[in-house]
Amino acid sequence: MPAKLLIVVWLVFAPAIGLAQGFAGLGTDADGYRQVSPDRVLSFPADHGPHPGYRIEWWYLTANLKGEHGKDYGVQYTLFRQAGAPPPEREGWSNQQFWLGHIALTSADRHLYDERLARGGTGQAGAIAEPFEAWIDAWHLGTTGAGAATALGFGQLRLQAAGSDFAYDLTLTTAAPPVLQGKGGYSVKSDRGQASYYYSQPYFQAQGSIQIAGRTVSVSGRAWMDREWSSQPLAEDQSGWDWFSLHLDDTTKLMLFRLRHDDGQDFLSGNWIDANGSTPISGDDISLEILEETELPGRTVPTSWRVRVQSRGVDVSVTPLNAAAWNGTQIGYWEGPVFGQGTHNAVGYLEMTGY
């Protein structure tokens, strides 16, 4: 596919995914699309499937893995859905949905990634609620074994994808139900009411293999899935985000993000997830401090952070497994595994857009 074609398709039809450059259309009115409301109660497994009446949606899976010999790896699998036009849904080739897949595999010295673009309406790419599936071409995340029957549909999933020079095949299992982010799944993204529906499954145990540099390596570790959909997630003056998902220990998880504003008045928010459930963290409880920046071709990216959540006694310095984890896809962003040290020994993922 011509590189330029991909950019144009995504920017023209997909102004709202919030990755890097595509912000021109973010603040526009979402005429004709369904709007997010705080009253809606999410229901599973139905909400695992697509919500085509909303402009954008994603299935976002990251895994922190260790190989047989103790080496660290990170795996990313993302499926974006973007509507080219508001409902009603059109059939077949005239369907207005576009699907974008990103996959990546990170080690301390390599960061490999690939992408695919497809149109909806034919089955080339799509998602199904039950039994759960989210795929584009041969890249596939879906229920396996008895997975559909447990943990509200996410009990056992298999993730398979291959790029031009890497591949992975993981089985993800959990007994825990999905976790609602924000307030009951309603996640506010600005002081002016921008919001999305957002839930996660941060309790996956991952087991399987990866292929890198021509070798197959057995791996195991933790995985975290995010599901989010909206019609207008960012405010006009928001230029990108820094988003953390950290496994503080087996049961305690921390999600927090900073939406950067043009005027420097950033919007911070997060959720504390533990045995008691998911609790929102207010912005003034969170402190993010850049410790170190990395020069990448054409940009400077803050790759080491001091992350503090005062009310929870969290104070960790977060450093990347590979500071060059830049996804040089048509719309580029930083996405890679990180480690936290300090009050907690954490692993997790960091995503930074708009750099």
């Binding site: 011509p2 080739w93 080339q124």
Partner: protein, 807 residues
């Protein structure tokens, strides 16, 4: 200013005093560069377009999967392959009737399409505008500007946008739109994929797919290659002619500046500094002239491209964009040729400057003393060149050797031209008796060394014109006649499978307007370890009267239809070393060869048998399109009825009459291009001649003044000067014709055979030679006009001065 700066300024003063010389140098080099880069630009544009067109049609850069049987596949095959990881792209095609005319519909899926296959309107800068409207409402269609105009105002079709890269009568739309227009919802016609995608055979078989053979347009590709080769050779010769001007100008400028060099050396400039200064000067002039040449070349290419585009579009069904795009390849090639050419032309001058002893420099006419020796050296070099040429011809066995032979021939001709013209003049001198004539001939001989470079330029231009003109002319005559004979049927129809083909044949045989039905089959076989194509022929007047036989036994056709004989294509006969009367065996029993026929453009050798024999020997032979002979006026109604009765894909119906009409237009346009290049090359040569005459003018006064003093009027003298120039030009033209014929023969018998595997006959065109001879004289006349007028009006005092300055 630095020392080099001062030296440069001193050297430059020469050009201020001799602006004509400077102009000639720059114009010569600029024109040579212009012709070269212009032709390169045309070729680059054409190649780019071919690649795109073949890709759009599933050509060499794109793999194509077709249904193993039938003409469509379920769309689910596309999804299944994608979900198995094979990056294929679906395509649906067909035709609809719009206002009684067939309109091809091509439905593509631009997001998965290999990028090289996408039409212009969905590539590069057009993406931002094109894509959203193409695969979302209003679902715009792309079409050639002509087709957009034809469909103006049609409300039933999607809105149209012009795309110059598309062939006419074709609407490219999103696949979903095409499926609806064609009534093929849920179906696709084929799958495109990048060349590196490999689907295992087992998967193909399971899904009912087959990997389509590479483009069947090989013949056309070979012919377009030949066309571009001709243009390139022409451009190169024009460039060589231009370099002769540059060489003459630089040599003359050096010679005239020898006193300056001596003075500079005496003032303390080292040989190295002088050489560097001359190098800088040459480079500056080359870049200046090269840039001017590029602009001019662009204009030439832009002016010629519509003709080239039109011609290639029609014949090969490929479209070459009519507008020129800026491509770095020809810009660099043009500038590089200009700089390298100027450096090559200046090497001798540089060497002289570098080696010059400081005090022995001021002998501007010194080289004249060595004239005789130079002539002998030239002849020796010519003998060497000729020997090299003969050796290359005899032992060389490659395309490069063919071109090297051509270079040897031209070089030999250039080196011996002064000697030949000199000899003719010597003989003439011994015959004529009147004193004025004797003086005239003696003076011409004396003038010859000074004019020889210009005459060589003229010789090369004329020889190239004769050579390429003869080759292209032969190409046209032979190819068109061959095309007429090979594609004799008005329409060719290929059924999608055996059953449909049989049904169509049976149906067509019953149609009253069909006068002959020419079904055929072909198979692959081996003939003494060589892969060959076997094709069939049926007993019909079209074959008996029209097949392009080169040689045949008497009663050859009766022998063929007795099923015991075969005919061979020229390539097969040459490769196997076989001729009439020999026997071949395809593993199915002996067949006597009763004919050899032309099969231009086919890379494979071919054997032709009767249809009965072929069906007997090769039961699984594939079908060829059935040729249908009928009155032209009946074609459209017949096709209309046929497509109603049968589901024939539009690609499987070829209206040969329209194709041939276009191919004729093609060649007329081709000749417009050739004629333009002819004129431009001759223009370069005439500038060479003008330069030489002008620079010789002052020196010639020494020879003319005594004749004037003996009583010849200035106007008489001027007339004689003009006559001498014309005679020299005519003599050059006389030499150029045989040289051009040798050139043509080498192109036809060596270069074409090596490049394409087949040989076109050499057809001489005497009227072309006459035209060129007259043109040469006209060119000389134009070049001589300025000096002639100057001479006829020269002040007597200036002629007297010759004596006063005691020469």
């Amino acid at each position: 200013m630095s020392r080099t700066g001062w030296i440069l300024a001193t050297l430059a003063s020469h050009w201020r005093r001799n602006p004509v010389q400077l102009a000639a140098l720059i114009v010569g080099l600029a024109l040579a560069t212009a012709l070269w880069s212009g032709v390169q630009a045309i070729n680059a544009e054409a190649r780019c377009s071919y690649a795109k067109a073949t890709a759009l049609l599933g050509g060499p850069d794109v793999g194509v999967l077709r249904p193993a049987r039938g003409k469509t596949l379920p769309q689910s095959v596309f999804v299944e392959l994608r979900r198995a990881g094979y990056q294929v792209s679906p395509l649906v095609e067909g035709a609809i009737s719009v206002n009684g005319k067939r309109l091809r519909i091509l439905g593509i899926e631009p997001i998965s399409m290999p990028s090289q296959a996408a039409p212009d309107g969905l590539q590069g800068d057009a993406v931002a505008d094109g894509i959203p409207a193409f695969l979302q409402p209003p679902w715009e269609a792309l079409a050639a500007p002509e087709t957009v105009a034809v469909l103006e105002g049609n409300p039933d079709l999607p809105p149209r946008r012009a795309d110059g890269s598309l062939p006419e009568n074709l609407l490219v739309v999103d696949i979903g739109v095409a499926q609806t227009l064609l009534g093929l919802e849920g179906s696709i016609s084929r799958l495109l994929m990048a060349q590196d995608v490999e689907v295992p055979d087992a998967t193909l078989n399971r899904l009912g797919l087959r990997l389509a053979a590479p483009s069947e347009q090989d013949a056309a590709t070979g012919l377009t290659d030949s066309f571009h080769l001709n243009l390139t050779a022409f451009a190169f010769l024009a460039f060589a002619v231009g370099l002769l001007i540059v060489r003459a100008c630089i040599g003359l400028a050096l010679e005239q500046r020898l006193p300056t060099f001596r003075t500079l050396r005496a003032c303390g400039a080292s040989a190295r500094e002088l050489a560097i200064a001359v190098l800088i000067e040459v480079l500056a002039l080359a870049i200046l002239a090269g840039l001017a040449g590029l602009v001019l070349g662009y204009l030439i290419a832009a002016a010629l491209l519509p003709d080239v585009a039109g011609s290639l579009r029609g014949l090969y069904g490929v479209s070459v964009s009519g507008t020129l795009r800026f491509a770095p390849e020809w810009v660099l090639s043009g500038l590089g040729m200009s700089v390298l050419g100027a450096l090559a032309a200046a090497t001798a001058a540089l060497w002289t400057v570098y080696r010059m002893p400081p005090l022995a420099a001021a002998r501007p006419d010194a080289w004249r003393a060595t004239q005789g020796r130079q002539m002998r050296q030239g002849l020796a070099a010519a003998a060497l060149c000729a020997a090299a040429g003969v050796a290359l011809y005899a032992y060389g066995d490659s395309l490069e050797a063919g071109f090297a032979t051509i270079a040897c021939v031209l070089l030999t001709a250039a080196l011996v031209l002064p000697a030949i013209v000199g000899s003719i003049l010597a003989i003439a001198g011994s015959v004529v008796r009147s004193p004025v004539s004797e003086w005239m001939i003696a003076d011409m001989r004396q003038q010859l060394p000074g004019l020889s470079l210009a005459l060589v330029a003229l010789l090369l231009a004329l020889a190239a014109n004769v050579g390429v003109g003869t080759m292209v002319g032969g190409f046209r005559e032979t190819f068109l006649e061959w095309l007429d004979r090979r594609l004799a049927a008005e329409v060719y129809v290929r059924g999608v499978d055996e059953a449909q083909a049989r049904a169509i044949d049976a149906w067509a045989a019953q149609q009253p307007e069909v006068s002959e039905l020419l079904p055929g089959r072909f198979a692959d076989a081996f003939l003494t370890d060589q892969p060959v194509e076997v094709r069939s022929v049926v007993d019909a007047p079209t074959y008996r009267d029209g097949w392009p036989l080169l040689r045949a036994s008497p009663d050859a056709w009766d022998a063929i239809f007795s099923d015991e004989a075969a005919m061979l294509s020229e390539q097969a006969a040459v490769r196997l070393g076989m001729g009439l009367g020999d026997t071949v065996d395809l593993g199915t029993g002996p067949l006597q060869i009763v004919g050899i026929y032309a099969d231009y453009g086919n890379p494979k050798g071919q054997v032709m048998l009767s249809l009965e024999r072929l069906e007997r020997d090769f039961p699984d032979a594939r079908r060829m399109g059935t040729g249908i002979r009928l009155d032209r006026a009946a074609i459209d109604p017949l096709l209309e009825r046929m497509t109603q009765a049968f589901e024939v894909p539009p690609d499987n119906i070829i209206d040969q009459v329209a194709l041939k009409r276009l191919s004729r237009q093609t060649f007329e346009r081709t000749f417009a291009v050739t004629a333009a290049l002819n004129v431009l090359t001759l223009l370069v040569a005439s500038i060479a001649l003008l330069t030489a005459l002008l620079t010789l003018f002052d020196r010639r006064l020494a020879q003319l003044a005594p004749v004037w003093a003996l009583g010849l009027a200035r106007r008489q003298l001027a007339g004689l000067e003009l006559a001498k120039t014309l005679v020299l030009a005519a003599l050059t033209a006389l030499v150029a014709i045989p040289v051009g014929l040798i050139l043509a023969w080498l192109l036809v018998a060596v270069v074409n055979v090596k490049a394409f595997g087949w040989r076109l006959p050499l057809i001489p065109y005497p009227e072309q030679w006459l035209t060129l001879g007259l043109l040469a004289v006209a060119v000389a006349a134009i070049a001589a006009i300025v000096p002639t007028i100057r001479l006829s009006r020269i002040a007597p005092a200036q002629l007297l001065k010759v004596f006063a300055s005691a020469r």
